[in-house]
């Protein structure tokens, strides 16, 4: 519970330009995306919007970092930030839950029903007599880029397993870095933080390589029926999150180089490491349910 004493007041900023900049940036980014998708003008409005968005984040966070460096944040402010970050991560969990839900629904219900299993035997009798359900599946009409609709799946114990090891290792390195921060060993901190984001980028590039292979050689694309859809949406959004997480790691690494963070006061560091662990856990779910089982 908050305590308010004269020497220790909750810091309240008075007025900020960044939110409105952010809103305009989001709006023009989305408008750009709309224009691109609808073939209106080409996606050119996308760029200024995206740049503005980056500028906004930069400006907003610099202000916050600046204030923090000047010590205006007391323990309650710090706790607000922490709680905020945790609930934000919870919202991300629910976002992924929607796609995992789609995967489970498709595997356990939709595809078997299409094949006439359970109560839906008439589906086979009167709609899809040729279809034999199973997983992976691209549906009764075998949608996909290849002529017959055939496709291959990414074997779990190749790049994906390697990526699992990479991410798990990065989870360890970020924890080591955190430990070093708390015990004041700045050298170890910088080193292991660097390891962490390097592992992150390695993960992303392997993922990109894997996507290339899937598109070129396996007949596995977004349009490869429900398997391709769930596969790319889940791994794609995850990859996006890894990329964002890795960029955040770079930023806090740069900040450690500048001497930011103290053993007791390092909210941003912890926020990024929580985020990183979250991305890690999502990957474990992906590895098990998308690649392996």
């Amino acid at each position: 519970m908050a305590t308010h004493t004269d020497s220790d007041k909750y810091y309240l900023p008075h007025g900020s330009p960044w939110p409105i900049v952010g809103s305009v940036a989001l709006f023009s980014t989305m408008l750009g995306a709309v224009a691109y998708l609808n073939d209106w003008l080409g996606g050119w409005i996308f760029l200024p919007g995206a740049l503005l968005l980056i500028g906004m984040f930069f400006g907003w966070f610099s202000t916050v970092i600046d204030e923090n460096q000047h010590g205006v944040y007391n323990r309650e402010v710090d706790r607000s930030f922490r709680m905020g970050m945790m609930w934000f991560i919870f919202s991300e969990v629910m976002f992924f839950a929607a796609f995992f839900g789609a995967l489970f629904y498709a595997r356990r219900l939709a595809v078997p029903w299409l094949g006439g299993e359970g109560v839906k035997v008439v589906n086979r009798l009167f709609l899809w007599p040729q279809f034999s359900p199973g997983w992976p599946s691209n549906g009764p009409e075998h949608l996909g880029p290849r002529a017959g609709g055939s496709f291959e799946v990414m074997p779990a114990f190749g790049i994906p397993a390697l990526n699992t090891i990479i991410l798990l290792t990065s989870g360890v390195t970020v924890t080591i870095a955190h430990h070093a921060l708390r015990t004041g060993r700045r050298g170890v901190l910088k080193l292991f933080l660097a390891f962490t984001f390097l592992l992150g980028f390695t993960f992303v590039s392997l993922q990109v390589h894997e996507y290339g292979e899937a598109y070129r050689e396996l007949g596995l694309r977004l349009s490869t029926g429900i398997y391709g859809s769930t596969f790319f949406m889940l791994t794609g959004f995850h990859g996006l999150h890894v990329t964002i997480g890795a960029i955040m790691l770079v930023i806090i690494w740069l900040r450690t180089l500048r001497g930011h963070f103290t053993p007791t006061h390092h909210f941003a560091f912890e926020a990024v490491s929580w985020y990183w662990h979250f991305v890690d856990v999502v990957w474990l779910g992906l590895f098990v349910f998308v690649y392996w089982l």
């Binding site: 008439v122 009798l125 009167f126 007599p129």
Partner: protein
């Protein structure tokens, strides 16, 4: 037990609004309440509906009565003094948690029974495949080559255009009439296999107590068995928003006697274009027929 009579309610309310009510002859009877329908399931549903209705009325009378009593009795303007010590009362609170639970059980039991009955499509004697398209219904009698395309009738269609200048009241069964109604025999368990051809539609026939969505790529089942003495024409509408003309794809079913139905079906089979294959299991998604279906005049009058 669940069949209760809601008649006085309808009478009372009808009387209440009789002044504004206009009931043109050519139109379906004007009503305030759910139709009891013409088969066992629809009547059971009607019973459930009335059961729920009376429970709600009863609870409302008690709860609202108590509130109104308090509102009148404890007016500040009449010098009421608040009893600020009345904070809670465990015994009362337990009662008003458990009592509703018991009431709910008494609702859930008959509801579950009717649900099980309504979903039991086994043992049917006739099967009809129903496919919803934007914006018409296609009916195929399984095991025969008979296919009907059922669209809004011409009169309604003309009257419903913007600025048509046609008074809807002058059109018999405005928006509830089709060119080729579905024809079914009375007294027979009919299973309908419902699916969608483009988007989701919903096949709703209030008098049969059936509403089932027509999902593209999946088949839903429903059934009805109209009472043998309930020959006649029954009307419904598409009940899932399916685009621009969602309001204009009615469902009309003619219930005829079994002999009439057999005769009608034979005539239709003969009238189908040569080479049209019968719809049997294991044929999958048949192409949407492009030929014109036989004239509606061949349907026997349900009164025979």
């Amino acid at each position: 037990m669940i069949k209760r009579n809601g008649h006085w309610l309808m009478v009372a309310l009808t009387g209440l609004v009789a002044a504004v009510a206009r009931v043109p002859v050519a139109h379906a009877a004007w009503t305030l309440n759910l139709t009891p329908g013409v088969d066992a399931v629809s009547r059971d549903i009607y019973g459930l509906h009335m059961l729920m209705f009376w429970w709600c009325v009863g609870i409302a009378v008690v709860v609202f009565g108590f509130i109104i009593y308090s509102l009148v009795r404890f007016r500040h303007s009449k010098g009421a003094v608040a009893d600020t010590q009345l904070l809670h009362n465990t015994r009362v609170e337990i009662v008003w948690t458990l009592l509703p639970a018991l009431i709910l059980v008494s609702m859930a039991v008959p509801a579950a029974r009717v649900l099980v009955e309504a979903e039991d499509t086994s043992g049917s004697q006739l099967e009809i495949r129903v496919t919803g398209y934007q914006w018409r219904w296609v009916y195929q009698y399984v095991g025969t080559n008979v296919t009907l395309i059922s669209s809004l009738d011409r009169d309604s269609d003309q009257a419903r255009q913007l600025d048509s200048g046609i008074d809807p009241f002058s059109v018999p069964n405005y928006l509830l009439n089709v060119d080729h109604p579905l024809v079914v025999p009375a007294g027979v368990k009919v299973r309908v296999l419902i699916t969608g051809g483009d988007v989701i539609h919903s096949w709703w026939l209030p008098a049969f107590g059936i509403k089932k969505d027509a999902i593209p790529g999946y088949i839903n089942e429903a059934w009805f068995a109209v009472d043998p003495d309930k020959l006649g024409t029954y009307r419904g509408q598409c009940a899932e928003l399916c685009g621009r003309d969602h309001g204009f794809m009615p469902i009309v079913v003619q219930v005829v006697s079994q002999q009439d139905f057999q005769q009608w079906l034979k005539a239709q089979e003969a009238a189908m274009p040569p080479g049209s294959a019968p719809l049997t299991p294991e044929v999958g998604q048949p192409p949407l027929p492009t030929y014109a279906p036989p004239s509606p005049t061949t349907a026997p009058s349900p009164t025979t």
